[in-house]
């Protein structure tokens, strides 16, 4: 390791003007732009959650009106899913890291990359416009004919926003696919790629294949709304279930858009902090692709009580259980990686542990929902809410925070305070479980989701959940403070503070120079070759 000094010429010092940021085509700067914009949306979505959790503290709907409540959970869902979770790891960290990890100077299409950010911001502005001028009350699922005919809120404006934002994902996905195919450094064969890259490759495939279908679905809602053409509303000759098919054809795979990149993050972190190659590397890599493919075959598991035919239900349930297998493979392999490792408990590793535990619970409770006879009861209750927050917050956001803490020194060249970062990781873990675990119980007891007012017998669990949410909220604010502090006061990180393997750590400085590497590296070893023996498998 070289002495920890910051290189004078790096991508951050290449220009300080606003213009230099807004016209950059450097993938690292675009990653930072994304990081800032999605953090903004995360705070907006989180604020909405705090408000409706407060409303749910007491059974009657007293704090906000029913309409405001409905707009709040819609805002929370739309912002968190489309403007935070979907772009989160890929657009911020994927952008920053894909070229660095494969030894390339940039992504294949740097201008397209910048365009994707602008398109994202434009979509986000439309969404904010819709939210600020009066809001939308359809839920993030936009079920028809409510959204297409009955709701008198700003659905069309929001539809335009989501339609536009979808293109930013498509641009990013295309860029990643081409870059990973074409721009790997000499010697970097497919099975030498870091698992982060495999995960982003699989994610990009889903994005490119799935997002257009969402765009079409949401466009058709707009068409029916604006022109009264009967597509989904049976009163004018449409089919309300058609929307659900189109919507979930994208939105189930979208769950994997959100979770796969975080799985890639966890693989990197677990390998680094146990100084071991990921056990069953190839199985983990292929599992990412398997998840991407199966993910497209199971959308009907959201429709078991929708009047979809019984036979369709049987097939979708059967196929849904297949997705469980590659997810289980990943969890077992991460766990096995720890065996006889050298395990350190730095903050990123705490997030990785959190991810594995919470994702396991999220995945296992997903089986409850895939099981036909059981889903009939828990469908559209708080059980579902708990399940997907274990996947999306317990999984995806833990992965996101893990990535933030793992690569922060690389991105900024500075270290953050260890004590505070570990403390907030703990707070987040506790707050999360207190918020969402009681919701499993609520769901089985029969409390439906999206209820502004509820029956008094459900109150205890709602109080626990709201208490947890306040702790969780505090847990999310602490990192913002110490990370900002580290920018100015953090001690220099040096190129490889964690002693990690990988081109981004071993072959370039922190922060990296504009063109990433002094010279394009040649790869002669397997990924995660911590033991120096270059073993395969």
């Amino acid at each position: 390791m070289t002495a920890a000094v910051e290189p004078k010429d790096n991508y951050l010092t290449a220009g300080f003007s606003l213009k230099s940021w807004l016209t950059t085509t450097d993938h690292k700067r675009i990653g930072v732009l994304y990081l800032l914009s999605i953090t903004f949306f995360f705070l907006v979505g989180g604020l909405a959650a705090v408000l409706f959790r407060l409303e749910l503290l007491t059974p009657p709907g007293d704090l906000v009106s029913a309409d405001s409540y409905n707009k709040l959970f819609t805002l929370h869902g739309i912002v968190m899913v489309f403007l935070f979770l979907i772009p989160s790891v890929p657009a911020a960290f994927g952008n920053f890291l894909v070229p660095l990890m494969i030894g390339a100077k940039d992504l294949a299409f740097p201008k397209l990359n910048l365009a994707s950010w602008y398109v994202f911001v434009l979509g986000g502005l439309f969404a904010l416009w819709a939210l600020l001028t009066g809001g939308v009350d359809t839920g993030w699922t936009f079920y028809t004919p409510y959204s297409s005919t009955y709701s008198n809120t700003y659905v069309s404006l929001m539809a335009i926003g989501i339609f536009i934002a979808g293109f930013s994902s498509i641009f990013t996905g295309l860029n990643f696919i081409v870059t990973i195919h074409k721009m790997r450094a000499p010697g970097l064969t497919w099975f030498r790629l870091p698992l982060f890259i495999w995960a982003h490759y699989a994610t990009s495939l889903i994005i490119v294949l799935g997002t257009p279908v969402l765009a079409v679905a949401i466009l058709l809602v707009g068409v029916e709304r604006l022109f009264g053409i009967g597509i989904f509303n049976p009163a004018i000759g449409g089919d309300p279930l058609l929307f659900q098919h189109l919507f979930w054809f994208y939105s189930h795979p979208a769950v994997y858009i959100m979770i796969l990149p975080s799985m890639g993050v966890v693989s990197e972190i677990v390998a680094c902090f146990s100084r071991k190659r990921i056990f069953g590397y190839k199985f983990v890599a292929i599992a990412s692709l398997a998840i991407a493919v199966y993910g497209f075959l199971v959308w009907g598991h959201h429709m078991f009580v929708s009047s979809q035919s019984v036979y369709a239900g049987l097939i979708f349930s059967f196929l849904s259980f297949f997705v469980a297998v590659p997810s289980a493979v990943k969890v077992f392999n991460w766990t096995a990686t720890l065996y006889k490792g050298s395990i350190a408990f730095d903050t990123p590793m705490l997030y990785a542990f959190g991810f594995i535990g919470l994702f396991t619970i999220g995945g296992l409770t997903g089986l409850f929902l895939a099981t036909l006879g059981l889903d009939v009861h828990v469908h559209d209750t708080y059980f579902v809410i708990a399940h997907f927050h274990y996947i999306m917050v317990g999984g995806a956001i833990m992965g996101y925070l893990g990535a933030l803490h793992f690569w922060w020194p690389k991105m900024t060249g500075r270290m953050y305070t260890e004590g505070w970062s570990k403390f907030s990781a703990l707070i987040i873990f506790i707050g999360f479980n207190l918020t969402f675990f009681p919701q499993f119980i609520l769901g089985y007891l029969g409390m439906p989701r999206r209820y502004h007012a509820y029956s008094p017998e459900f109150q205890v669990y709602n109080v626990l959940s709201t208490a947890g949410a306040s702790i969780l909220g505090a847990g999310y604010v602490i990192p913002i403070i110490y990370l900002l502090w580290s920018l100015f006061r953090g001690k220099p990180a040096g190129p490889n503070p964690w002693g990690a393997k990988g081109l981004e750590w071993e072959k370039t400085s922190s922060p990296p120079p504009v063109h990433n590497f002094a010279e394009i590296p040649t790869v002669t070893e397997e990924a995660y070759n911590y033991s120096g023996t270059n073993e395969q498998g």
Partner: protein, 310 residues
């Protein structure tokens, strides 16, 4: 149904607890046992063990399949109501549930049912999608505009149980709730008989409509009327397999009857001309329910036989 669903639920909880505890215990155990003791520690590489990989592909798969079959068996019996189930027609709308009993008794946001007897709800919606959810019986089914869905249950505990709308349907979604009141059979009969004077049973209301809308002009009235040339006879139709013009065949359930009245061209009966008027937007959901209840009572002397030609 509730005890069966709960058994399955406990099985899944057992599996979930087992694997969560296993993973958590392994992580804690390894993390403590193999914690880094010195900064320059370098653990030895361990190659992949394919047998282990196969083991943890196969075992989860087998457990998953057990869940699938168990869940599927319950789902199938949920989809198949017993023949003696009492039909109740349900119409959801923003934001209330309307129930119509066979004898013409109606209620809103309250559903009275007898203990120990299967009840079948035939559900539709007048506006957006709703979902009828009775947690105590572990059943739920969406109310979809433009079509019939159904669910059935058998109450085993007297008293009142929650009835919710589970599919988000707009402003007062959380107020679209009510009670299912399970009564002992004698109490139920007494309740049904209350206020019977001046009330018309569904089927006879349907018969009046049938006359008024001019169905008789083509289909002929009464159970003895034979087949006419212009239109198929409607006796014994319910539950029968109907041969269609396009070569397919369908079972005449409520959904088929609904479509045949509202949009006769959608499924043409083999051998007839498309002359039946379209009744879509001519009859309300509640009138349609009455018509269908009437059509279901049309039985010929011999009784219906499965698969007979129209």
């Amino acid at each position: 149904m509730a005890p069966r669903v709960d058994m399955l639920y406990f099985f899944l909880i057992a599996v979930a607890v087992f694997f969560s505890v296993l993973i958590a215990a392994l992580i804690v155990f390894f993390a403590v046992k193999y914690r880094r003791r010195s900064a320059d520690e370098q653990p030895k590489a361990i190659g992949v063990d394919v047998r282990l990989e196969i083991l943890w592909i196969v075992i989860p798969f087998i457990i998953a399949m057990a869940m699938f079959f168990w869940g599927a068996v319950i789902y199938l019996s949920m989809a198949k109501p017993p023949a003696n189930a009492i039909p109740v027609y349900v119409v959801g709308r923003q934001w209330m549930w309307k129930f119509q009993h066979q004898n013409g008794k109606r209620e809103i946001n309250e559903l009275h049912v007898p203990l120990g007897q299967p009840v079948r709800l035939i559900i539709t919606s007048e506006d957006v999608i709703h979902s009828l959810f009775i947690p105590a019986f572990r059943v739920k089914m969406d109310a979809v505009p433009g079509r019939y869905t159904s669910l059935w249950f058998e109450a085993t505990r007297a008293g009142s149980h929650h009835l919710f709308c589970a599919e988000y349907c707009g402003t007062q979604h959380s107020q679209m709730a009510g009670q299912v009141i399970a009564l002992s059979p004698p109490d139920y009969e007494a309740w049904l008989a209350q206020g019977a004077t001046g009330r018309e049973p569904l089927a006879s209301a349907g018969e009046n409509l049938y006359q008024r809308l001019g169905c008789t002009g083509c289909h002929m009235a009464g159970p003895t009327a034979g087949m006419t040339v212009r239109a198929p006879g409607l006796q014994d139709l319910y539950g029968k397999r109907v041969q269609l013009e396009n070569g397919r065949s369908v079972i005449a359930d409520e959904g088929y009857l609904r479509e045949s009245v509202l949009r006769p061209r959608a499924k043409m009966v083999a051998g007839y001309q498309p002359i039946m008027p379209v009744f879509e937007n001519q009859v309300s959901e509640e009138e349609l329910v009455q018509l269908i209840a009437y059509l279901k009572t049309l039985r010929s002397a011999e009784g219906g036989t499965e698969g007979s030609a129209p």
